[in-house]
Amino acid sequence: MQSLHYTSIKGRAEEIIEDILALPPIATQAGLIFTLHLVCEEVVSNIVNYAYPEGQEGELSVDVEDAGGFLVLTFKDKGTPFNPLTKEPPDTSLPLHERPIGGLGIFLVGQMMDDVSYSYVDGCNVLTLKKEKAGE
């Protein structure tokens, strides 16, 4: 398992996403890099921008595990308890001019991963994403 830990995340979303994508279990998945980039961006930018109250630097841990045929990505933060999976999914039947601007990020994560789960453990929001690896 590969792990990253940040004790200060404010304004560092781009750097954190790049660090995650460079971890070997992810960097070697050429066929999945678009998907993994997108889901990491959605999750990390949500945590960096919204998990902590204004003025807090915020912490984030990321674990990436190559578990047999699956990649498992776990994001842990100590921000305000929030289960993103309870968010109402967007109405994808609405035309452009009736769509709210935003709110698609976690929906895309759910669409692109094989499994997404949330728990609140020991004061941490824990979001776990699972994706079957591309064929060797």
């Binding site: 781009e14 994808t92 039947s93 929906f107």
Partner: protein, 106 residues
């Protein structure tokens, strides 16, 4: 160094040439550029040239929605030359039903 998203107005059509990526690094900048055209009258089409675009995230889709909602009055939106990955992201959001995709790799 990131290039600017060049936007040109040709009569009733706003042409937007996208960079290689449209995500948290540059979507806000594109929205700011689009905002300059919100008072412009007579824009009926917005064409996003996505032939160089290899990556998009939800913030990029937000920029496309923004164009529809603030430029002109419900302009016709076209995305030109989208890759399969880019098309697939729009497809998941249901937006391929409302946006014209030209020369996309579906």
């Amino acid at each position: 160094m990131a290039k600017k998203n060049p936007i040109t107005l040709n009569e009733d059509t706003l042409n937007v040439v996208l960079e290689e990526r449209l995500d948290i690094t540059n979507s806000m900048k594109l929205i700011e550029e689009l905002n300059k055209y919100r008072e412009e009258e007579g824009i009926t089409h917005v064409v996003f040239d996505a032939r160089n675009l290899t990556y998009i995230a939800s913030t990029g889709i937000r920029a496309v929605l923004y164009a529809d909602q603030v430029v002109g009055e419900n302009p016709h939106i076209t995305i030109l030359g989208a890759s399969q990955d880019i098309y697939h992201v729009f497809e998941m959001t249901g937006l391929t039903k409302f946006i014209e995709f030209k020369d996309a790799q579906e």
